[in-house]
């Protein structure tokens, strides 16, 4: 009932927004036969309230800081609506007045206590299910270093992701980072990292040359990329923990680009460009062996592999039918099926596929021949170019990369809000700026960086 009402209201609102778009721009930027995602994707967002207390003044200050990061993370998750009014009747001890919370529109109530322990703090967090009147539905204990420590924000992001997992049984994306290339005015680029909430912008490389296509390893500890630092575009891998870099040299010559780690953690897929074509190859970087051609088309380019979470298939770019299009095929080689729209009268071009870590959705960017801007599109892996959603309709948007929650995408854009990285929520259509004022390229969203933290720091709940 409530969901329907909200749905209808949102649909009306979105129609109103759509109606205000300049007709010409909308017509130009929309891809024929593709539905605009904003017009029908409506999300219901449960209300939540969060209250952390401190055991002492120092812990209270910490509680406020943790709360600020958590609230922002939960907002960024696009899954909740925060109810700011706090009932005066709430106390961490005693019973919870579920009826009152329900009246306040709170579906989920989070309470917790922060106390000092050793050199840092411990958060005991409780999740209460207001709708079903179930107190302490989930409890957890999290270690958080002091707020000036380097790991502070990531530790809190881990808590936020745990809350998402408690409520939705789905992965979050707060505890993650985004690698991207920041381009200088000289055309050179360096790899940077930024947290999922736009904090901790950090430069990783200082090569003073062209560097492209950063790709996260499956465990989130390494980055592969193509750098021109030797004079030729070659593939390198940087261990983010040790800072050690090595060339991944599968003896296939120069022009090695668009790396992508296979989920088995052993292999890497990449494209090698030589003579009159680009081929996709597969190589075991652990044993340094077993180079295999996965896809090769005479006089054409097959490149930008993006591998499915189970490792069995890949999406990739190919111009085998003249225009760059997105196809799906087995990572062992085989038949390629198109997933991007193809219209003989008005051929479009589509680029930069990324396979969702959750489910079978593929994001990419593209445009029809006569439109100016590139837009982000979503396709079903088995859709054969028929089931598509267009996520953006404003400005120029390129190189989408999925967040570990399989719901959000980061992309590089030139939009009304500026130039830089933006995060789009495929659930609600909301787009927020992540890093603006920089010339950015080829972002890649890391896997969840929370897992190792949780294993080592979280103790079983009481």
């Amino acid at each position: 009932m409530r969901r329907q009402r909200l749905g209808a209201a949102s649909a009306l609102l979105l129609c109103a927004i759509a109606a205000t778009l300049p007709a010409e721009a909308a017509a130009q930027d929309q891809i024929p036969g593709v539905r605009l995602g904003l017009l029908y994707q409506v999300g219901f967002r449960p209300g939540y309230a969060l209250r952390l207390t401190g055991a002492d003044p120092e812990a209270q200050t910490m509680a406020t800081r943790i709360e600020a990061v958590l609230v922002r993370d939960l907002d960024n998750s696009d899954r909740f609506e925060q109810r700011r009014q706090l009932s005066p009747g709430l106390a961490s001890e005693g019973t919870i007045d579920f009826a009152l919370w329900k009246q306040l529109g709170v579906d989920w109530l989070l309470t917790g206590e922060v106390r000092s322990e050793n050199d840092g703090f411990v958060v005991d967090l409780q999740l209460h299910d207001v709708l079903f009147g179930e107190p302490n539905k989930q409890v957890g204990r999290f270690a958080v270093p002091p707020s000036e420590a380097r790991g502070f924000r990531m530790a809190v992001h881990t808590v936020a992701d745990e809350i998402v997992r408690w409520i939705f049984a789905e992965p979050g994306m707060a505890a993650s980072r985004i690698a991207f290339v920041r381009k200088g005015t000289d055309g050179n680029g360096e790899i940077y990292l930024v947290d999922s909430d736009g904090e901790n912008l950090e430069r990783v490389t200082s090569f003073g040359t062209i560097t492209v296509s950063p790709a996260w390893s499956i465990d989130g500890t390494r980055l592969a990329y193509t750098s021109y630092k030797s004079g030729e575009p070659l593939l390198y891998e940087l261990n983010l923990t040790t800072g050690r870099e090595q060339q991944i040299a599968p003896q296939v010559g120069s022009n090695v680009w668009t790396p992508s780690y296979h989920p088995n953690g052993q292999e890497i897929l990449f494209s090698v460009s030589r003579d009159d074509k680009s081929e996709i190859l597969r190589y075991n970087i652990v044993d340094r062996c077993c180079l295999k051609v996965v896809s090769s088309t005479p006089r054409r380019d097959d490149m930008s592999p993006a591998i499915s979470p189970d490792g069995s298939r890949m999406a990739f770019l190919s111009n085998r039918l003249n225009k760059p299009q997105i196809y799906v095929m087995p990572t062992d080689g085989g038949v390629a099926d198109p997933v991007s729209p193809y219209d003989y009268r008005e051929p479009g071009e589509f680029h930069a596929p990324d396979w969702s870590p959750v489910g079978d959705r593929i994001a990419f960017h593209g445009r029809m021949e006569n439109s100016r801007g590139y837009q982000i599109l979503l396709a079903d892996a088995s859709g054969r170019g028929l089931r598509l959603v267009q996520l953006t309709a404003d400005g120029n948007n390129e190189d989408p990369s999925w967040a570990p929650d399989g719901r959000h995408l980061v992309f590089s854009g030139t939009r009304q809000e500026g130039t830089g990285l933006f995060v789009a929520d495929t659930g609600t259509g909301r787009i927020r700026p992540l890093v603006t004022g920089l010339r950015t390229q080829v972002p890649d969203w890391s896997p969840s960086l929370a897992a190792p933290l949780r294993e080592s720091l979280r103790e079983p709940g009481h």
Binding site: K183, G187, V212, E232, D276, N319, P324
Partner: protein, 202 residues
């Protein structure tokens, strides 16, 4: 008859002798010891003229040599310019455009006359598409130039290629003109450029 012919010299001798008997003639005016001032002046002028002429001819020879050298230098420069002319491409294409073939034929003539030349072809793309696809496209373009030359019998081993994708635009703007200029292959001489033999190319 014969008597008369003899009488004339005798009479003439008598006359001469009669003359000798009179007072000695006045001393002749002193014979000039060198050229006159006039002559000197003329000689001086002549010598200057001769020196000038000699100088002029040296200078003329020098000028001729210089202008020949200059002409050769210009020829080399012109040859070099034709060799280094960029090759431009259509959007998302890497085949040699008909309007670029004249430039390619010039490259062929120059490369045939200069077997010592080694070149690098640097492929570029405009900003449209994707960063990664444009790297491949730039590589296709550089290779396309190399292959075109190979089909005319120029050894492809003389050339290396590299792609800079969309990362090194010639014109930093987002419009058709800028894009058209940015879709290009640049030519860099990697060896043999200092012994360039000029070639007259159309």
């Amino acid at each position: 008859m014969t008597q008369r012919w003899i009488a004339i010299p005798v009479l003439a001798l008598g006359l001469v002798m009669a003359e000798c008997g009179r007072r000695p003639p006045p001393p002749p005016p002193p014979a000039p010891s060198g050229p006159t001032a006039e002559e000197l002046e003329r000689m001086r002028q002549d010598s200057i003229a001769r020196a000038r002429a000699r100088q002029d001819s040296i200078r003329a020879a020098e000028d001729a040599r210089r202008s020949a050298e200059e002409a050769r230098r210009m020829d080399i420069q012109r040859t070099r310019d034709r060799l280094l002319e960029m090759v431009f491409f259509d959007y998302d294409r890497f085949d040699i455009r008909p309007d670029q073939e004249r430039g390619m034929q010039a490259k062929i003539a120059i490369l045939r006359a200069n077997p010592q030349l080694r070149l690098r072809f640097e492929g570029h793309a405009d900003e449209r598409g994707s960063t990664e696809y444009n790297l491949a496209l730039g590589d296709r373009r550089a290779n396309s130039v190399r292959q075109f030359l190979a089909t005319y019998g120029i050894d492809a081993e003389r050339f290396t290629t590299i792609s800079y994708g969309e990362e090194r635009p010639l014109v930093n703007a987002s419009n058709e003109d800028a894009w058209a200029r940015n879709r290009r292959v640049e030519v860099v001489i990697t060896a043999g450029g200092d012994q360039l033999v000029p070639v007259a190319v159309p």
